[in-house]
Symmetry: C2
Subunit: 433 residues, 2 copies
């Protein structure tokens, strides 16, 4: 440590009655006659430090009361319990050293426009709400890893650069790869399918890319997904795994991020009841339900955002919509033997209109049917040679899904726009910082 | 499950004496008169199943003894303990169902060339050594997350697409981003520095990209790194954190991957002594040592692979080489106040010639010096505006490092080439599968 005896604000309560040093940034300075309060943020917490003029001497008093917001300081003093203070402690200052000053800080408590905030994302991260969001994100990510680790899944890191193609050829970022064309992955699914034949239960976790010109609250060009894939699992098993994962992750966030969710003013009573089983409605029944409520959608149309909102309002829990028409879904989904117009798949809709957080399916494991679908969609057959191999050498029933991290976090944190749920969002017209 | 009562081979011992069903792939079939042995791999383990002709009837016997390698089967039978069998159990078969046949499998026990194996990477993953490698990789990755989670680090996912530039402009993959130029990240460091000002102790974990035309055993164009960054930590703290991380990760692999390391014929006695402190040698002393051994390198030259091997052979532990000449290192490293020809940085060399696994440094926190270095290196100043902001608004001492996952795994697993240590390697001339 730059100061050998420095402690973190998070741990202050353990040091009550002792003299300690903290290092951090000045959030506010208030002067009340001969007493001043310097609130210091150190990244682990925020603490009020109390300065008494006659104890510190004039020079130190003047420096301290003139501190600019975001100045870097080391503060020495005695920790005392103070139930009214945030964190339950304050520091009676015996010394304060200015480590570095700050120019006038661009972010002020007043309302800034979203573009200004995103332009200053590298600084905006210092605010308490953004802190809270990032902590919830980190907790949710660790929870996902813990969930799969405890269930003996093997994590498989799938490639970002690929000559093959994921879901939709129109929305790919492309790069020159030593003279070849390469594309940024939209999914790791095809690769985890190969790994499932080797290791049975696997998942990938990482960034994915969609070059979509969408400017909605639910789109990022770069977003993170977890994608499990399980050999010998069918579509029913797949929905059960989704339920269990979502339940575990939401439970961890509620259990361990109470403080953060309070800062975000998230009503956690909406999250606490989340547990299996989640309600299930087939696509066909969903169409009937929506038409009964005045929609003029036809069987075969994909569900729109409004349709999803109506369906999600049928329950306080996330809702499965399963077995969509094959023309509305990707080529790799398995034909439903009981109704070949549909495929064995599901979306999972979060409650309260937070929209789709998971898409999953049983995969087409018949070589001939899969090849026919690849041709029907006019996909480049040669690029799928290795993927078809998985159906030539011991094909096997298998299922998997992708859970979008930012969309899941939007629901958990109660934010309507995904742009705040990733540290440095990438959107149409936003590539920096 | 496709079969409701199916169990995993991993758990067979718990079912000794009972009748169970397993599902998996046929690895080998051997016939010994009226008894046959079908070895089945299910992704969680491998088990020998024993078929007795007179018990099964002629039709089943013929089908089973004619099974092609990689056929998918469901095998029912009684689990019995068999100390001589791998896993300690075998299955006395009562029924065997062929779920899917297999075409002639391209991978045979004979030696294949590496290009053939990499062309068939999607199938090669099914072999026992590749299994073992991927399991060690997953364990190491979980260990890294657990290490940082336990220490209250906040995981920060840094962007892959960026208008800014990392270490070296000549080795970037570029893509069109809705009319702008974007580059694939070579590091998340600049972003975790911003996050460290917000959350004190942070790390990123993800893929990074180098468009290097290197064809060595130590280069991938797409590789994974973990990059922690700590506010108020100096270069000494940084080396201590590296020691602790490496010790923890190696310990977890030894403790929980004994079976996998045995399959890989890794002598773990070389890994067991790994604990702090690791030996430290300054760059300047390293040059003297190397010259004493006949090298004609000059002070100021970077260390070559051979130099690193010689230095790593001075100890059974990883070795720190610290405080390199500034011209050999990146612009963002902090000038060493005690010797301004050098910067406060370190590499960490794995033992036995496995080479550099970590590069770290204290970051230049002086706005003027950092700007001068950016100009000296002729980097695009405007792209670093937000990075310079971190030195304008409460600059702070901070340090961090990057640990390469594949190189660390090469050492842990005792493999000389990184290409096997990632599920789907990307190299010069290799973009598929």
């Amino acid at each position: 440590m730059v100061r050998e005896d420095a402690v973190e604000v998070r741990d202050l309560r353990q040091h009550a009655g002792r003299e300690v040093t903290i290092q951090g940034w000045v959030q506010t300075v208030r002067e009340h006659g001969k007493v001043a309060f310097v609130v210091v943020r150190d990244g682990t917490g925020v603490v009020q430090t109390v300065l008494v003029q006659k104890q510190l001497g004039q020079a130190l008093w003047q420096m301290a009361t003139g501190l600019a917001q975001e100045s870097t300081v080391a503060v020495r003093g005695t920790v005392r319990k103070e139930p009214r203070a945030p964190g339950g402690c304050e520091i009676a200052v015996t010394n304060l050293v200015l480590l570095a000053g700050s120019e006038e800080y661009p972010l002020q408590p007043k309302e800034h426009g979203i573009d200004f905030l995103l332009d200053h994302r590298h600084l905006w991260l210092r605010s308490s709400q953004q802190h809270a969001i990032l902590r919830v994100r980190a907790e949710v990510e660790q929870a996902i890893h813990d969930f799969f680790y405890a269930r003996n899944f093997v994590r498989i890191d799938t490639p970002i650069l690929s000559g093959a193609i994921g879901e939709s050829a129109g929305t790919l970022f492309e790069t020159d790869y030593f003279g070849e064309r390469a594309f940024l992955a939209q999914t790791g699914q095809l690769y985890v399918e190969a790994a499932a034949a080797a290791l049975r239960k696997v998942y990938c976790f990482g960034p994915t890319f969609r070059a979509e010109k969408s400017k909605t609250r639910r789109h990022l060009t770069e977003f993170w997904m977890v994608e499990p894939e399980v050999a010998f699992a069918d579509s029913e098993d797949n929905m059960r795994l989704q339920e269990e994962l979502v339940t575990y992750v939401v439970g961890r966030a509620v259990e361990r991020c109470g403080e953060e969710l309070a800062i975000l003013e998230r009503d956690t009573s909406a999250l606490e009841p989340v547990r299996p089983p989640f309600p299930r409605i087939s696509y066909t029944d969903a169409v009937a339900l929506l038409r009964g409520r005045g929609s003029d959608m036809q069987w075969g149309d994909d569900l729109g955002g409004n349709d999803e909102t109506i369906l999600s309002q049928t329950s306080d829990l996330p809702v499965f919509v399963y077995n969509y028409p094959r023309q509305a879904k990707a080529f790799y989904m398995k034909e439903n033997p009981e109704d070949p117009r549909t495929v064995l798949c599901n979306d999972l809709l979060a409650p309260d209109g937070y929209g789709e957080i998971v898409g999953g399916s049983q995969r087409e494991d018949d070589h001939g049917r899969l090849l026919a679908r690849i041709r029907e969609e006019q996909l480049p057959e040669h690029a799928y040679g290795w993927y078809l191999d998985l159906r030539r050498y011991g094909t096997f029933p298998h299922s998997g899904f992708g859970l979008g991290i930012e969309r899941t976090l939007a629901w958990i944190t109660g934010r309507r726009h995904v742009r705040e749920l990733i540290p440095f969002p990438r959107m149409l017209n936003r590539l920096t910082p």
